[in-house]
């Protein structure tokens, strides 16, 4: 079977996880020449409530567009982490915000716990770009798509006028991940 990578981005409504999914899918499908699907599950609320966005990336056809066996899970709330970590495959990558997710699952995952929201708030001045900081971490750690493809996709997908801020957020996420990898290099390829 062809390479199939499944990523779930989870948290609460309003955190911009659907946008991250679309950026990731666009980077893979349009700029890296792979196939990708992005789907979502959300509640009726405009803000709050559980929200998840899923991206499947493959070099072959993608028949079933939802995740079954996750390679990567991003959880920006404790609720999301508790609810979804069981869908991660053994050895899968779990990325969490260190402030929002304090209780970690005792399973064989590669757990990446970083100050995502703190970086967005303090270093970039905008809580709202925590989603793109997360994207930087995912891309740096998994190398699932090329960094250049993601930069193109960010420019194409984020609201006009926010491109620079979002690109900075992406670099910030990659820097966080790079720093983390220095001390955890044995855990992740």
């Amino acid at each position: 079977m062809s390479l199939r990578q499944e990523i779930r981005l989870s948290g609460s409504g309003g955190q911009g996880l659907i946008l991250v999914g679309k950026v990731l899918a666009e980077a893979a499908a349009i700029y890296d020449g792979l196939n990708a699907t992005q789907s979502q599950s959300y509640g009726p609320e405009a803000r709050g409530g559980a929200s998840r966005s899923e991206v499947i990336i493959s070099d072959g056809d993608i028949e079933y567009p939802k995740a079954e066996n996750l390679d990567i899970l991003l959880a920006l709330t404790q609720e999301a982490c508790d609810k979804y970590h069981k869908d991660l495959k053994e050895g899968g990558i779990l990325i969490v915000d260190e402030k929002m997710v304090k209780s970690l699952p005792d399973e064989n995952y590669k757990i990446v716990q970083l100050p995502i929201i703190k970086s967005a708030t303090e270093r970039l001045g905008k809580f709202i770009v925590a989603n793109i900081v997360s994207l930087g971490i995912i891309v740096k750690i998994s190398e699932i798509v090329s960094e250049e493809a993601v930069r193109h996709a960010i420019k194409a997908r984020v609201p006009k006028g926010t491109e620079e801020l979002n690109l900075k957020a992406f670099e910030e996420g990659m820097a966080l991940a790079k720093e983390w990898m220095k001390t955890h290099s044995t855990l992740v390829k």
Partner: protein, 379 residues
């Protein structure tokens, strides 16, 4: 639109909106409802750019009324909604069927009944699309299973509506409509676009409901010099109401059989591995993606499964399904309802045929392995 192929990442609802414009849609009236709203949102920007009209109406009943009116005036017209709105549109949908007014209705199915599960997928409106409006009547409904098909099936929906003077329902679901994936858009010049037959008769001799050989009378647009009467009442060839039983039989039988001579063109489906199959999977819309995967997996595990995907849901592919059902003892039918199409298949197959239903009504997609399990248990 480009004169070359363009590849983009697009959402299903957005693809329906772009497909509508490519198919000639120049009028949209609707009322927003999850999970269909992106169709209206997109058209509110793109229709004015091509000289079209976008109206957000006060409700769904008025939206469907506006679509019927715009089409009578000569515009290719569409509305988009979900289950609760589709219920409201049934009255004017019946009017469009009776008066034979081309129109396209997008129903992005969500969990029901009533307001149900607003943000989750469903195929619960399959029978509503067939019989939601009262009285014996014909209808065409089509079901896409990819973003690319959302685009091209919408173009086709307009063609069918125009050619056969009928409402066409695009019966999609939240999963496909909210799926974002790659789509290749061909130049408009490569698309086949059909327009309604215009009368060759003079305005004085024109009969809007003439008994033609094809069963489809030519349609004059209002405002082009042809004056005629349109009603939901049973009418004669002139369009004026009639109570005459012979005339009623004549016109209603023409209406109800008007697709019969054209089924080859209206019916659309795709088959995989039905030549050597031991078991048949039948699916449409979102579950058909899982069904195709399930066919591949079960074959890898040694079960020769075949697969038919219905692209046209109504009219039903009766002959094709009868033909395929003779080859197998078991038909597996995954649906995001409690077996609405399975019931149709049961009507066509002998009692000895085992119909295995895989059903979800909780809004979650049907996984390939659920279908594989159904196939394996029945081996």
């Amino acid at each position: 639109m480009s004169d070359k192929n363009t590849t983009r990442l697009m959402q299903g609802n957005v693809a329906i909106a772009h497909g509508a414009v490519a198919g000639g849609c120049r009028f949209f009236a609707g009322y927003p409802i999850t999970p269909s709203s992106e169709v209206a949102e997109t058209l509110s920007e793109t229709l004015p750019e091509v000289g079209g009209t976008f109206i957000q109406m006060e409700d769904e009943i008025a939206s469907m009324g506006a679509v019927v009116g715009a089409s009578i005036a000569g515009k290719k017209a569409m509305t988009a909604t979900s289950g609760p709105g589709f219920s409201l549109k049934q009255e004017n949908l019946g009017m469009a069927i009776m008066a034979e007014v081309p129109s396209v209705i997008v129903d992005v199915q969500r969990g029901g009944p009533s307001t149900g599960l607003p943000t989750k997928g469903s195929q619960g409106d399959v029978m509503q699309a067939r019989w939601g409006t009262h009285g014996d009547h014909p209808i065409i409904a089509v079901a896409p299973n990819s973003v690319e098909e959302c685009y091209y099936m919408t173009v086709r929906a307009f063609n069918l509506a125009e050619k056969y003077r009928t409402p066409v329902v695009i019966l999609t679901d939240e999963i496909i409509a909210h799926l974002t994936e790659k789509i290749t858009i061909r130049p408009n010049s490569e698309l086949e676009i059909m327009d309604r037959d215009k009368p060759e008769d003079s305005p004085e001799d024109y009969l809007p409901y003439k008994m033609t050989d094809s069963g489809i009378p030519p349609m004059a647009n209002f405002g082009e010099g042809y004056r005629y009467h349109i009603t939901g009442l049973v009418h004669d060839e002139t369009g004026f109401p009639t109570n005459d039983s012979e005339e009623a039989t004549r016109q209603l039988m023409r209406l109800n059989t008007k697709f019969d001579k054209h089924l080859d063109e209206i019916l659309d489906y795709e088959e995989f591995n039905t030549d050597d199959m031991e078991i048949l999977i039948l699916a449409y819309g979102a579950p058909s993606r899982s069904a195709k995967r399930a066919m591949q997996v079960s074959r890898e595990q040694g079960v020769k499964s075949g697969f038919i995907r219905l692209k046209t849901i109504w009219p039903f592919a009766t002959q094709k399904i009868k033909e395929l059902s003779h080859k197998v003892d078991t038909i597996v039918i995954p649906e995001m309802n409690l077996g609405q199409i399975a019931g149709e298949v049961e009507r066509l197959t002998p009692d000895s045929t085992s119909i295995v239903k895989v059903n979800h009504v909780n809004g979650e997609a049907i996984k390939p392995k659920e279908i594989v399990n159904a196939i394996m248990n029945k081996d």
